[in-house]
């Protein structure tokens, strides 16, 4: 078995992967290309900052102004190694380890060549982003310290750290994917686990706890021989740098790359040829949605039941509903920290809950049917039944959870009794309104093409226009009710109108209901008509 990639094959695979990636990018919309442009602009600013930092550090070292330069400098390779290993492990687990047309490649060249090609392409695509600031920073440091050799050593040592971390991260990510895929329990619940992981990640990010999570890892890495790359980088400009440690770092860096690559080839050989773990037979859902059918009629009940079953078995298609959750992290965290629910939190939860209730099943009623749409429309089912089913699919779980959560938070908050009733009723009404608005917007902006959520997973999600239009319309309609729950606004309006604060809060909710009901009704009717008149052209 080939233990290391053949450079020519690996390079050919990498070039082809990069070419494909570039063509995919060119085929994307202008908005996504514009986002990359903005990212590049931010990157340019970061490069300038790194250049200034590098020059300042070099000047400080030259002027002997840094008390313990090696200790400070050791942070750079430690942080870089830790971050790159974590990042690459994560990316490999979710994306890089899934090779397009893998069977074709594996029956054409040894799998070691595929590993080489994939790692090389990924490094150019992702690691390349860090190479420019790294080289610029090293050059600025060399200018500051007044040594051309320092440029070679700083850039070379940091590049070696980056490459070593990338290769190690790839092997770890592939290994984690393999181990994860060996457990029936994990395979069965992988998407739910992924969602929980994503929420945890958002929480860490939005609660400024990232440092707390990563700092111990960086400290541990700094205490390891990875710190010796600081000796290698500074061996010619800092008198205290240990030449032996520098030499060990240079040799060790190459060794880690070689061993990491060998490990990646071995893990890939195990993972890519492994038999998939069977998740076991899927528990059959009940033969008929009896309770719902009695209330809504059989066709609508089946539409709702079908929506739930599909969502449960492919929760990735609802991942976009989770994205706005991050707005709740901060207020919820603050409430937990001080042990008091603020007066505004129930209203915020009500608005998010209503938004999610509408967005979950209503934002792409035509496109979500996929290849089944022609069959659905020719079954003779009426648009009213389909739309009713979609509304029920979102409202039964969404309105229930939102209303209960809002009521519980309102009771725990400083809101008075009448205001508690008002905000709770408002939450329920907002959910109903949101579901109606969503279906109306959804049929106006259908999306039939699948979008790649992760590299190997494509699902049909609502169009960007549906997403934006629905969000803006709902927020505008909900704004009066929400604003009136904010104590400052409540008191100001109460003072201006002479009404009691509770009356203002109830009035806000009532006003929103009055506005949202006709809009929702129009949306529902529009969706029903569109469905009844649907043709494939």
């Amino acid at each position: 078995m080939t233990r290391f990639p053949t450079p020519r094959h690996a390079a050919l695979i990498a070039v082809t992967e990069l070419r494909r990636g570039w063509r995919q990018f060119r085929g994307k919309g202008r908005v996504q290309q514009g986002v990359l442009g903005v990212a590049v602009a931010f990157g340019a600013v970061a490069v300038v900052a790194v250049a200034f930092g590098g020059y300042a550090a070099g000047s400080a070292v030259a002027a002997d102004e840094v008390a313990a330069p090696l200790e400070v400098a050791a942070l750079v390779p430690a942080a870089m190694f830790t971050g790159a290993v974590l990042f690459t492990t994560y990316l490999t687990a979710i994306q890089l380890g899934n090779v397009d047309q893998r069977d074709a490649l594996l029956t054409t060249v040894p799998h070691a060549d595929v590993v080489g090609g994939v790692v090389l392409a990924a490094f150019v695509r992702i690691g390349g982003l860090f190479v420019v600031p790294l080289v610029v920073g090293a050059a600025a440091f060399a200018v500051g310290v007044g040594s051309a050799v320092a440029f070679v050593l700083v850039a070379g040592s940091l590049l070696m750290v980056l490459v070593a971390a990338f290769v190690v991260g790839f092997a770890l990510g592939l290994g984690a994917t393999h181990l994860f895929g060996r457990s029936q329990v994990l395979v069965r619940h992988r998407l739910a686990i992924g969602m929980l992981g994503f929420i945890a990640y958002l929480w860490v990010l939005t609660s400024n706890r990232f440092d707390e999570v990563v700092a111990p890892l960086v400290t541990a890495t700094r205490a390891s021989p990875v710190a010796w790359f600081a000796d290698l980088a500074l061996v010619t400009v800092v008198p205290g740098a240990d030449p032996v440690q520098a030499a060990v770092a240079a040799v060790g860096g190459v060794a880690v790359v070689v061993v990491g690559l060998r490990a990646a080839v071995w893990v890939a050989g195990v993972h890519w040829y492994a038999d998939p773990v069977q998740a076991g037979p899927t528990a059959a859902s009940s033969a008929s949605p009896t309770l719902l059918a009695r209330v809504l009629g059989q066709p609508a009940a089946w539409v709702a039941k079908k929506s739930w079953v599909r969502a449960r078995r492919s929760p990735l298609k609802l991942v976009y509903v989770v994205y706005p959750l991050f707005v709740l992290f901060q207020p919820v965290q603050e409430a937990i920290r001080v042990g008091t629910v603020t007066a505004t939190l129930p209203a915020v939860v009500a608005v998010y809950g209503a938004w999610a209730t509408g967005a979950a099943f209503g934002l792409n009623p035509l496109g979500d049917e996929g290849a089944v749409l022609p069959i659905t429309v020719t079954t003779g089912v009426r648009g009213r039944a389909v739309v009713t089913g979609l509304l029920a699919a979102g409202l039964v779980p969404g309105a229930t959870v939102t209303t209960v959560a809002t009521a519980a938070l309102a009771i725990a908050s400083p809101l008075e009794g009448l205001a508690v009733v008002g905000v709770t009723a408002g939450a329920a009404a907002l959910c109903v309104g949101a579901a109606g608005v969503a279906t109306g917007v959804g049929v106006e902006f259908p999306r039939y093409e699948a979008a790649t959520v992760a590299r190997s997973r494509s699902v049909v999600v609502p169009s960007t226009w549906a997403f934006l239009t629905y969000s803006v319309v709902l927020l505008v309609l909900a704004a009066p009710a929400t604003a009136m729950q904010v104590p400052v606004v409540t008191e100001a309006v109460a003072a201006a109108t002479g009404l009691s604060p509770a009356a203002v809060q109830i009035g806000g909710v009532a006003g929103a209901v009055v506005v949202i009901v006709p809009v929702a009704w129009y949306g529902i009717r529009s969706a029903e008509r569109t469905f009844d008149a649907y043709t494939v052209d």
Binding site: M1, T2, R8, H9, L12, I13, T16, R19, R20, R23, Q24, G27, D100, Q101, D103, A104, L105, L106, T107, T108, V109, P110, H111, D113, Y273, D275, V277, Q278
Partner: protein, 263 residues
Amino acid sequence: MSAPADEDRTAIRAQGLTKRYDGTVAVDDLDLWIPQGTVYGFLGPNGAGKTTTMRMLTTLTTPTGGTATVAGAPVTDRDAVVADIGYLPEDPPLHDELTAREQLRYIAGLRDLPTDRAETRIDELLERFDLAGEADRRISTFSKGMKQKTGIIQAILHEPAVVFLDEPTSGLDPRAARTVRDTIASLADDADATVFLSTHILPVVDELADTVGVLADGRLVTEGAPETLKRRVETGEEGSLEDVFLSVTGGYEDSAAIGADSG
């Protein structure tokens, strides 16, 4: 099946080849001997284990029992096997972002074909499959049939000793299907290659195969030359391959009506 008459002419040899998934037997104790320069028609109902067999023989999955060699190399030696085989899975493995010519050059590069030879071969095959005029279009714009043709060219580009084709005529118009059938015949007759052909289109097998093997529930329930199998159907008269297929895959008691030909 009989013992191989000439081991030197063996292209595919499997003995007791078995694959189990978590207690489910996908392929059970499969014995095959397929000589060089022949077409082997591999038939079976959906879920019979045909694709699993092909994946074992192409090294994409590891057998849980038995042994197999392909083009003289054991399937445990992946690098040696993949050097001598071509494989077309049911869905042609192509990158949509590339043109057909770029895709074929890419595979030729990975196969280490010298550039001149690769270009000549690509042009010749594109011409044969009536794709020369479309070769510089992106594969994403291709019809199903055009993708299938590109996939077939990709599988035979390097003139492999053994070619595994899974439903090669699927999605092709009659003219293109004719070209594929002629190409398969030519591979065996002129290039001395062995073609392992899995398909549900029985007339294709009837026309091309030197030997037919039928798999049901992971077991090889009958094997032999098409004419031999058709004559042995106990319908009282000359049958068709469809009669054979229906008879031997209806249950093991039916297969006894034909018996396993030693091929």
